[in-house]
Symmetry: C2
Subunit: 217 residues, 2 copies
Amino acid sequence: MTEAKTIQRQALPEPTLRRLPWYLAYVKMLDGQQVAHVSSTQISKALSVDSSQIAKDLSFLNIKGKTRIGYEVHSLAQTLADFLGFTQHHRAVVIGVGSLGSALLSDVGLSQYGLSIVAGFDINQALVGRNVGDIPVHHIDDLATWQNQHHADIAILAVPVEHAQQVADLVVNSGISALWNFTPVRIKAPERIAIANTSIYAHLAIIYNRMSVNNNA
Amino acid sequence: MTEAKTIQRQALPEPTLRRLPWYLAYVKMLDGQQVAHVSSTQISKALSVDSSQIAKDLSFLNIKGKTRIGYEVHSLAQTLADFLGFTQHHRAVVIGVGSLGSALLSDVGLSQYGLSIVAGFDINQALVGRNVGDIPVHHIDDLATWQNQHHADIAILAVPVEHAQQVADLVVNSGISALWNFTPVRIKAPERIAIANTSIYAHLAIIYNRMSVNNNA
Protein backbone atom coordinates (compact mmCIF):
# COMPACT_ATOMS: atom_id res chain seq x y z
CA MET A 1 0.00 0.00 0.00
CA THR A 2 2.70 2.45 1.02
CA GLU A 3 4.80 1.34 -1.87
CA ALA A 4 1.92 1.65 -4.29
CA LYS A 5 1.34 5.19 -3.09
CA THR A 6 4.96 6.06 -3.60
CA ILE A 7 4.99 4.72 -7.13
CA GLN A 8 1.71 6.44 -7.87
CA ARG A 9 3.25 9.89 -7.58
CA GLN A 10 4.21 9.90 -11.24
CA ALA A 11 1.61 10.87 -13.80
CA LEU A 12 0.93 7.77 -15.85
CA PRO A 13 0.21 7.91 -19.58
CA GLU A 14 -3.56 7.96 -20.03
CA PRO A 15 -3.59 4.90 -22.34
CA THR A 16 -1.83 2.92 -19.61
CA LEU A 17 -4.37 4.14 -17.03
CA ARG A 18 -7.17 3.00 -19.33
CA ARG A 19 -5.66 -0.46 -19.78
CA LEU A 20 -4.79 -1.17 -16.13
CA PRO A 21 -8.49 -1.55 -15.14
CA TRP A 22 -8.88 -4.13 -17.93
CA TYR A 23 -6.05 -6.15 -16.43
CA LEU A 24 -7.60 -5.77 -12.99
CA ALA A 25 -11.03 -6.92 -14.19
CA TYR A 26 -9.46 -9.94 -15.85
CA VAL A 27 -7.21 -11.05 -12.99
CA LYS A 28 -10.01 -10.49 -10.43
CA MET A 29 -12.09 -12.86 -12.51
CA LEU A 30 -9.28 -15.42 -12.58
CA ASP A 31 -8.79 -14.95 -8.83
CA GLY A 32 -12.48 -15.74 -8.30
CA GLN A 33 -11.95 -18.93 -10.32
CA GLN A 34 -9.04 -19.90 -8.00
CA VAL A 35 -6.47 -19.58 -10.78
CA ALA A 36 -3.03 -19.07 -9.19
CA HIS A 37 -0.84 -17.81 -12.03
CA VAL A 38 -1.31 -16.08 -15.35
CA SER A 39 1.19 -15.34 -18.11
CA SER A 40 1.31 -12.12 -20.10
CA THR A 41 0.55 -14.27 -23.17
CA GLN A 42 -2.72 -15.39 -21.56
CA ILE A 43 -3.64 -11.83 -20.59
CA SER A 44 -2.70 -10.75 -24.10
CA LYS A 45 -5.02 -13.31 -25.72
CA ALA A 46 -7.90 -12.58 -23.35
CA LEU A 47 -7.76 -8.80 -23.79
CA SER A 48 -6.29 -8.41 -27.29
CA VAL A 49 -3.44 -6.26 -25.96
CA ASP A 50 0.12 -6.88 -27.12
CA SER A 51 2.01 -8.85 -24.42
CA SER A 52 5.01 -6.49 -24.54
CA GLN A 53 2.57 -3.62 -23.89
CA ILE A 54 1.20 -5.50 -20.86
CA ALA A 55 4.73 -6.00 -19.47
CA LYS A 56 5.46 -2.32 -20.02
CA ASP A 57 2.23 -1.17 -18.37
CA LEU A 58 2.80 -3.42 -15.35
CA SER A 59 6.39 -2.24 -15.00
CA PHE A 60 4.95 1.12 -13.81
CA LEU A 61 3.79 -0.83 -10.74
CA ASN A 62 7.18 -2.52 -10.30
CA ILE A 63 5.55 -5.83 -11.13
CA LYS A 64 7.48 -8.41 -13.06
CA GLY A 65 6.26 -11.85 -14.06
CA LYS A 66 8.41 -14.91 -13.39
CA THR A 67 9.75 -16.91 -16.31
CA ARG A 68 7.43 -19.81 -17.21
CA ILE A 69 5.14 -19.20 -14.16
CA GLY A 70 3.96 -15.70 -15.04
CA TYR A 71 2.24 -13.37 -12.58
CA GLU A 72 0.76 -14.44 -9.25
CA VAL A 73 -2.95 -13.74 -9.80
CA HIS A 74 -4.06 -12.81 -6.28
CA SER A 75 -1.24 -10.40 -5.54
CA LEU A 76 -1.46 -8.88 -9.03
CA ALA A 77 -5.15 -8.15 -8.42
CA GLN A 78 -4.39 -6.56 -5.05
CA THR A 79 -1.47 -4.50 -6.34
CA LEU A 80 -3.50 -3.25 -9.30
CA ALA A 81 -6.46 -2.29 -7.09
CA ASP A 82 -4.15 -0.48 -4.65
CA PHE A 83 -2.24 1.23 -7.42
CA LEU A 84 -5.42 2.42 -9.16
CA GLY A 85 -6.64 3.94 -5.89
CA PHE A 86 -9.63 1.59 -5.66
CA THR A 87 -8.72 0.41 -2.13
CA GLN A 88 -8.46 3.92 -0.72
CA HIS A 89 -11.44 5.91 0.47
CA HIS A 90 -12.40 8.99 -1.55
CA ARG A 91 -15.37 11.21 -0.75
CA ALA A 92 -17.33 12.91 -3.51
CA VAL A 93 -20.20 15.34 -3.92
CA VAL A 94 -22.54 15.26 -6.92
CA ILE A 95 -23.39 18.67 -8.31
CA GLY A 96 -26.61 18.69 -10.31
CA VAL A 97 -29.16 16.20 -9.02
CA GLY A 98 -31.06 15.77 -12.30
CA SER A 99 -31.52 12.40 -13.95
CA LEU A 100 -27.84 11.59 -14.42
CA GLY A 101 -26.86 13.07 -11.05
CA SER A 102 -29.52 11.07 -9.19
CA ALA A 103 -28.43 7.96 -11.03
CA LEU A 104 -24.86 8.53 -9.85
CA LEU A 105 -26.06 9.21 -6.29
CA SER A 106 -27.73 5.79 -6.29
CA ASP A 107 -24.89 3.87 -7.95
CA VAL A 108 -23.59 1.84 -5.02
CA GLY A 109 -21.18 0.18 -7.45
CA LEU A 110 -18.89 3.20 -7.10
CA SER A 111 -18.07 2.24 -3.51
CA GLN A 112 -16.33 -0.90 -4.78
CA TYR A 113 -13.92 1.43 -6.51
CA GLY A 114 -13.09 3.51 -3.46
CA LEU A 115 -15.67 6.26 -3.97
CA SER A 116 -18.38 7.28 -1.48
CA ILE A 117 -20.84 9.96 -2.48
CA VAL A 118 -21.55 12.01 0.63
CA ALA A 119 -23.74 14.89 -0.57
CA GLY A 120 -25.60 16.33 -3.54
CA PHE A 121 -25.94 19.99 -4.52
CA ASP A 122 -28.56 21.63 -6.72
CA ILE A 123 -30.40 24.91 -7.23
CA ASN A 124 -33.82 23.25 -7.41
CA GLN A 125 -35.70 24.15 -4.19
CA ALA A 126 -37.85 21.04 -4.63
CA LEU A 127 -34.70 18.94 -4.08
CA VAL A 128 -32.76 21.03 -1.56
CA GLY A 129 -33.19 19.73 1.99
CA ARG A 130 -34.36 16.31 0.80
CA ASN A 131 -32.49 13.02 0.48
CA VAL A 132 -31.88 11.11 -2.75
CA GLY A 133 -31.27 7.54 -1.67
CA ASP A 134 -29.55 8.19 1.65
CA ILE A 135 -27.69 11.24 0.39
CA PRO A 136 -28.69 14.76 1.54
CA VAL A 137 -29.11 17.44 -1.14
CA HIS A 138 -27.95 20.98 -0.32
CA HIS A 139 -28.22 24.28 -2.15
CA ILE A 140 -25.30 25.00 -4.47
CA ASP A 141 -24.78 28.35 -2.71
CA ASP A 142 -23.82 26.40 0.43
CA LEU A 143 -21.05 24.44 -1.29
CA ALA A 144 -18.08 26.47 0.01
CA THR A 145 -19.38 26.50 3.60
CA TRP A 146 -20.17 22.79 3.45
CA GLN A 147 -16.75 22.00 2.01
CA ASN A 148 -15.01 23.92 4.83
CA GLN A 149 -16.54 21.46 7.27
CA HIS A 150 -16.63 18.23 5.28
CA HIS A 151 -13.61 18.29 2.97
CA ALA A 152 -14.80 16.23 0.01
CA ASP A 153 -12.07 15.05 -2.36
CA ILE A 154 -13.96 15.09 -5.65
CA ALA A 155 -16.85 17.01 -7.20
CA ILE A 156 -18.89 15.13 -9.78
CA LEU A 157 -20.31 17.59 -12.29
CA ALA A 158 -23.71 16.62 -13.72
CA VAL A 159 -25.33 20.00 -14.38
CA PRO A 160 -26.88 21.28 -17.63
CA VAL A 161 -24.37 22.36 -20.25
CA GLU A 162 -25.12 26.09 -19.89
CA HIS A 163 -24.17 26.09 -16.19
CA ALA A 164 -21.18 23.76 -16.39
CA GLN A 165 -18.31 26.28 -16.44
CA GLN A 166 -19.91 28.54 -13.82
CA VAL A 167 -20.50 25.62 -11.45
CA ALA A 168 -16.96 24.34 -12.09
CA ASP A 169 -15.69 27.77 -10.97
CA LEU A 170 -17.75 27.45 -7.76
CA VAL A 171 -16.21 24.03 -7.16
CA VAL A 172 -12.68 25.34 -7.63
CA ASN A 173 -13.38 28.30 -5.32
CA SER A 174 -14.82 25.98 -2.66
CA GLY A 175 -11.42 24.29 -2.39
CA ILE A 176 -12.33 20.93 -3.93
CA SER A 177 -9.34 19.94 -6.03
CA ALA A 178 -10.69 17.24 -8.32
CA LEU A 179 -13.51 17.43 -10.84
CA TRP A 180 -15.14 14.47 -12.54
CA ASN A 181 -16.93 16.08 -15.44
CA PHE A 182 -19.98 14.23 -16.83
CA THR A 183 -21.04 17.17 -19.02
CA PRO A 184 -19.96 17.40 -22.67
CA VAL A 185 -18.46 20.83 -21.87
CA ARG A 186 -14.72 21.43 -21.92
CA ILE A 187 -14.14 22.82 -18.43
CA LYS A 188 -11.43 25.41 -17.86
CA ALA A 189 -9.73 25.16 -14.47
CA PRO A 190 -6.33 25.87 -12.93
CA GLU A 191 -3.54 23.34 -13.56
CA ARG A 192 -3.68 22.12 -9.92
CA ILE A 193 -7.25 20.80 -10.38
CA ALA A 194 -7.41 17.13 -11.39
CA ILE A 195 -10.04 16.67 -14.10
CA ALA A 196 -11.43 13.55 -15.76
CA ASN A 197 -14.02 13.81 -18.52
CA THR A 198 -16.73 11.16 -18.88
CA SER A 199 -19.19 12.29 -21.49
CA ILE A 200 -21.35 9.23 -21.86
CA TYR A 201 -23.34 10.97 -24.60
CA ALA A 202 -20.16 11.32 -26.69
CA HIS A 203 -19.87 7.54 -26.47
CA LEU A 204 -23.43 7.28 -27.77
CA ALA A 205 -22.32 9.29 -30.81
CA ILE A 206 -19.52 6.78 -31.34
CA ILE A 207 -21.86 3.79 -31.22
CA TYR A 208 -24.44 5.49 -33.49
CA ASN A 209 -21.73 6.25 -36.04
CA ARG A 210 -20.50 2.64 -36.02
CA MET A 211 -24.07 1.36 -36.34
CA SER A 212 -24.78 3.52 -39.37
CA VAL A 213 -21.48 2.51 -40.98
CA ASN A 214 -22.22 -1.19 -40.40
CA ASN A 215 -25.82 -0.88 -41.64
CA ASN A 216 -24.62 0.63 -44.88
CA ALA A 217 -21.64 -1.65 -45.43
CA MET B 1 -31.72 14.71 -42.17
CA THR B 2 -31.42 12.60 -45.32
CA GLU B 3 -28.20 14.35 -46.21
CA ALA B 4 -26.80 13.85 -42.71
CA LYS B 5 -27.57 10.15 -42.96
CA THR B 6 -25.81 9.93 -46.29
CA ILE B 7 -22.69 11.62 -44.98
CA GLN B 8 -22.77 9.53 -41.83
CA ARG B 9 -22.01 6.34 -43.74
CA GLN B 10 -18.29 6.83 -43.43
CA ALA B 11 -16.55 5.76 -40.22
CA LEU B 12 -15.29 8.91 -38.57
CA PRO B 13 -12.01 9.04 -36.67
CA GLU B 14 -12.80 8.49 -32.98
CA PRO B 15 -11.09 11.75 -31.86
CA THR B 16 -13.38 13.67 -34.23
CA LEU B 17 -16.41 11.83 -32.87
CA ARG B 18 -15.34 12.78 -29.35
CA ARG B 19 -14.94 16.46 -30.24
CA LEU B 20 -18.18 16.90 -32.22
CA PRO B 21 -20.34 16.62 -29.06
CA TRP B 22 -18.20 19.40 -27.47
CA TYR B 23 -19.00 21.65 -30.44
CA LEU B 24 -22.66 20.69 -30.18
CA ALA B 25 -22.81 21.45 -26.44
CA TYR B 26 -21.19 24.82 -27.04
CA VAL B 27 -23.31 25.95 -29.99
CA LYS B 28 -26.51 24.72 -28.29
CA MET B 29 -25.58 26.96 -25.38
CA LEU B 30 -24.99 29.91 -27.74
CA ASP B 31 -28.26 29.12 -29.50
CA GLY B 32 -30.06 29.30 -26.15
CA GLN B 33 -28.46 32.72 -25.63
CA GLN B 34 -29.85 33.85 -29.02
CA VAL B 35 -26.36 34.20 -30.51
CA ALA B 36 -26.69 34.07 -34.32
CA HIS B 37 -23.14 33.44 -35.56
CA VAL B 38 -19.92 32.00 -34.18
CA SER B 39 -16.44 31.92 -35.66
CA SER B 40 -14.06 28.97 -35.45
CA THR B 41 -11.75 31.29 -33.48
CA GLN B 42 -14.48 31.75 -30.83
CA ILE B 43 -15.15 28.00 -30.68
CA SER B 44 -11.41 27.44 -30.49
CA LYS B 45 -11.01 29.79 -27.51
CA ALA B 46 -14.04 28.39 -25.67
CA LEU B 47 -13.03 24.75 -26.07
CA SER B 48 -9.23 24.94 -26.30
CA VAL B 49 -9.25 23.12 -29.64
CA ASP B 50 -7.12 24.36 -32.53
CA SER B 51 -9.32 26.29 -35.00
CA SER B 52 -7.91 24.43 -38.01
CA GLN B 53 -8.88 21.18 -36.24
CA ILE B 54 -12.42 22.52 -35.79
CA ALA B 55 -12.67 23.40 -39.48
CA LYS B 56 -11.39 19.93 -40.39
CA ASP B 57 -13.81 18.16 -38.02
CA LEU B 58 -16.77 20.14 -39.33
CA SER B 59 -15.78 19.48 -42.94
CA PHE B 60 -16.88 15.84 -42.34
CA LEU B 61 -20.40 17.29 -42.08
CA ASN B 62 -19.97 19.39 -45.23
CA ILE B 63 -20.21 22.49 -43.07
CA LYS B 64 -18.15 25.51 -43.96
CA GLY B 65 -18.09 28.81 -42.12
CA LYS B 66 -18.48 32.08 -44.03
CA THR B 67 -15.60 34.55 -44.09
CA ARG B 68 -15.91 37.16 -41.31
CA ILE B 69 -19.41 35.90 -40.25
CA GLY B 70 -18.47 32.36 -39.24
CA TYR B 71 -20.99 29.57 -38.71
CA GLU B 72 -24.72 30.07 -38.34
CA VAL B 73 -25.32 28.89 -34.75
CA HIS B 74 -28.83 27.46 -35.00
CA SER B 75 -28.27 25.44 -38.15
CA LEU B 76 -24.85 24.27 -36.92
CA ALA B 77 -26.51 22.93 -33.74
CA GLN B 78 -29.17 21.13 -35.76
CA THR B 79 -26.75 19.68 -38.28
CA LEU B 80 -24.43 18.44 -35.52
CA ALA B 81 -27.32 16.85 -33.58
CA ASP B 82 -28.60 15.15 -36.77
CA PHE B 83 -25.16 14.03 -37.78
CA LEU B 84 -24.38 12.55 -34.37
CA GLY B 85 -27.61 10.55 -34.47
CA PHE B 86 -29.13 12.39 -31.50
CA THR B 87 -32.30 13.34 -33.41
CA GLN B 88 -33.01 9.79 -34.50
CA HIS B 89 -34.82 7.25 -32.33
CA HIS B 90 -32.79 4.30 -31.05
CA ARG B 91 -34.17 1.59 -28.76
CA ALA B 92 -31.98 -0.08 -26.19
CA VAL B 93 -32.16 -2.84 -23.61
CA VAL B 94 -30.12 -2.79 -20.40
CA ILE B 95 -28.60 -6.13 -19.50
CA GLY B 96 -27.76 -6.42 -15.81
CA VAL B 97 -30.14 -4.47 -13.60
CA GLY B 98 -27.74 -3.97 -10.68
CA SER B 99 -26.83 -0.55 -9.33
CA LEU B 100 -25.32 0.83 -12.55
CA GLY B 101 -27.94 -0.84 -14.75
CA SER B 102 -30.83 0.54 -12.67
CA ALA B 103 -29.22 3.96 -12.76
CA LEU B 104 -29.09 3.80 -16.56
CA LEU B 105 -32.71 2.57 -16.70
CA SER B 106 -33.73 5.70 -14.79
CA ASP B 107 -31.55 8.18 -16.69
CA VAL B 108 -34.17 10.05 -18.67
CA GLY B 109 -31.35 12.29 -19.94
CA LEU B 110 -30.50 9.62 -22.52
CA SER B 111 -33.74 10.31 -24.38
CA GLN B 112 -32.46 13.79 -25.27
CA TYR B 113 -29.71 12.02 -27.19
CA GLY B 114 -32.02 9.78 -29.19
CA LEU B 115 -31.97 6.76 -26.89
CA SER B 116 -35.01 5.10 -25.29
CA ILE B 117 -34.50 2.22 -22.94
CA VAL B 118 -37.34 -0.22 -23.53
CA ALA B 119 -36.49 -3.25 -21.37
CA GLY B 120 -34.10 -4.64 -18.80
CA PHE B 121 -32.77 -8.18 -18.53
CA ASP B 122 -31.32 -9.96 -15.50
CA ILE B 123 -30.95 -13.41 -13.94
CA ASN B 124 -32.12 -12.26 -10.50
CA GLN B 125 -35.60 -13.75 -9.93
CA ALA B 126 -36.33 -10.95 -7.44
CA LEU B 127 -36.15 -8.48 -10.36
CA VAL B 128 -37.58 -10.52 -13.23
CA GLY B 129 -41.23 -9.66 -13.90
CA ARG B 130 -40.98 -6.34 -12.05
CA ASN B 131 -40.56 -2.80 -13.37
CA VAL B 132 -37.61 -0.51 -12.63
CA GLY B 133 -38.95 2.97 -13.20
CA ASP B 134 -41.40 2.25 -16.01
CA ILE B 135 -39.19 -0.34 -17.64
CA PRO B 136 -40.07 -4.06 -17.45
CA VAL B 137 -37.32 -6.50 -16.43
CA HIS B 138 -37.20 -9.89 -18.15
CA HIS B 139 -35.08 -12.98 -17.62
CA ILE B 140 -31.89 -13.02 -19.65
CA ASP B 141 -32.89 -16.44 -21.07
CA ASP B 142 -35.79 -14.70 -22.82
CA LEU B 143 -33.58 -12.18 -24.64
CA ALA B 144 -33.54 -13.88 -28.05
CA THR B 145 -37.31 -14.47 -28.03
CA TRP B 146 -37.97 -10.93 -26.88
CA GLN B 147 -35.63 -9.51 -29.53
CA ASN B 148 -37.44 -11.44 -32.28
CA GLN B 149 -40.58 -9.49 -31.43
CA HIS B 150 -39.22 -6.12 -30.33
CA HIS B 151 -36.08 -5.50 -32.38
CA ALA B 152 -33.96 -3.33 -30.06
CA ASP B 153 -31.05 -1.55 -31.72
CA ILE B 154 -28.59 -1.51 -28.84
CA ALA B 155 -27.77 -3.66 -25.80
CA ILE B 156 -26.28 -1.84 -22.83
CA LEU B 157 -24.03 -4.21 -20.92
CA ALA B 158 -23.92 -3.60 -17.16
CA VAL B 159 -23.32 -7.08 -15.76
CA PRO B 160 -20.61 -8.24 -13.34
CA VAL B 161 -17.19 -8.67 -14.93
CA GLU B 162 -17.21 -12.47 -14.73
CA HIS B 163 -20.38 -12.72 -16.86
CA ALA B 164 -19.58 -9.97 -19.36
CA GLN B 165 -18.26 -12.04 -22.29
CA GLN B 166 -20.88 -14.76 -21.90
CA VAL B 167 -23.71 -12.22 -21.84
CA ALA B 168 -22.17 -10.39 -24.81
CA ASP B 169 -22.31 -13.68 -26.73
CA LEU B 170 -26.02 -14.01 -25.85
CA VAL B 171 -26.59 -10.47 -27.14
CA VAL B 172 -24.82 -11.20 -30.43
CA ASN B 173 -26.77 -14.46 -30.85
CA SER B 174 -30.06 -12.65 -30.16
CA GLY B 175 -29.48 -10.52 -33.26
CA ILE B 176 -28.82 -7.18 -31.55
CA SER B 177 -26.03 -5.57 -33.53
CA ALA B 178 -24.71 -2.87 -31.21
CA LEU B 179 -23.22 -3.21 -27.75
CA TRP B 180 -22.60 -0.36 -25.34
CA ASN B 181 -20.22 -1.92 -22.86
CA PHE B 182 -20.17 -0.38 -19.36
CA THR B 183 -18.03 -3.20 -17.93
CA PRO B 184 -14.24 -2.90 -17.73
CA VAL B 185 -14.02 -6.13 -19.75
CA ARG B 186 -12.67 -6.18 -23.30
CA ILE B 187 -15.55 -7.81 -25.16
CA LYS B 188 -14.84 -10.02 -28.16
CA ALA B 189 -17.50 -9.88 -30.85
CA PRO B 190 -17.75 -10.26 -34.63
CA GLU B 191 -16.64 -7.28 -36.76
CA ARG B 192 -20.25 -6.48 -37.73
CA ILE B 193 -21.18 -5.66 -34.10
CA ALA B 194 -20.81 -1.95 -33.24
CA ILE B 195 -19.18 -1.61 -29.82
CA ALA B 196 -18.53 1.43 -27.65
CA ASN B 197 -16.74 1.08 -24.31
CA THR B 198 -17.64 3.32 -21.39
CA SER B 199 -15.82 2.12 -18.33
CA ILE B 200 -16.61 4.87 -15.85
CA TYR B 201 -14.42 3.14 -13.27
CA ALA B 202 -11.42 3.47 -15.56
CA HIS B 203 -12.06 7.21 -15.50
CA LEU B 204 -12.03 7.08 -11.71
CA ALA B 205 -8.53 5.58 -11.94
CA ILE B 206 -7.51 8.51 -14.13
CA ILE B 207 -8.80 11.09 -11.67
CA TYR B 208 -7.26 9.28 -8.66
CA ASN B 209 -3.89 9.20 -10.42
CA ARG B 210 -4.04 12.92 -11.22
CA MET B 211 -5.07 13.69 -7.63
CA SER B 212 -2.14 11.78 -6.15
CA VAL B 213 0.27 13.41 -8.59
CA ASN B 214 -1.05 16.88 -7.72
CA ASN B 215 -1.01 16.17 -3.98
CA ASN B 216 2.62 15.18 -4.16
CA ALA B 217 3.80 17.90 -6.51
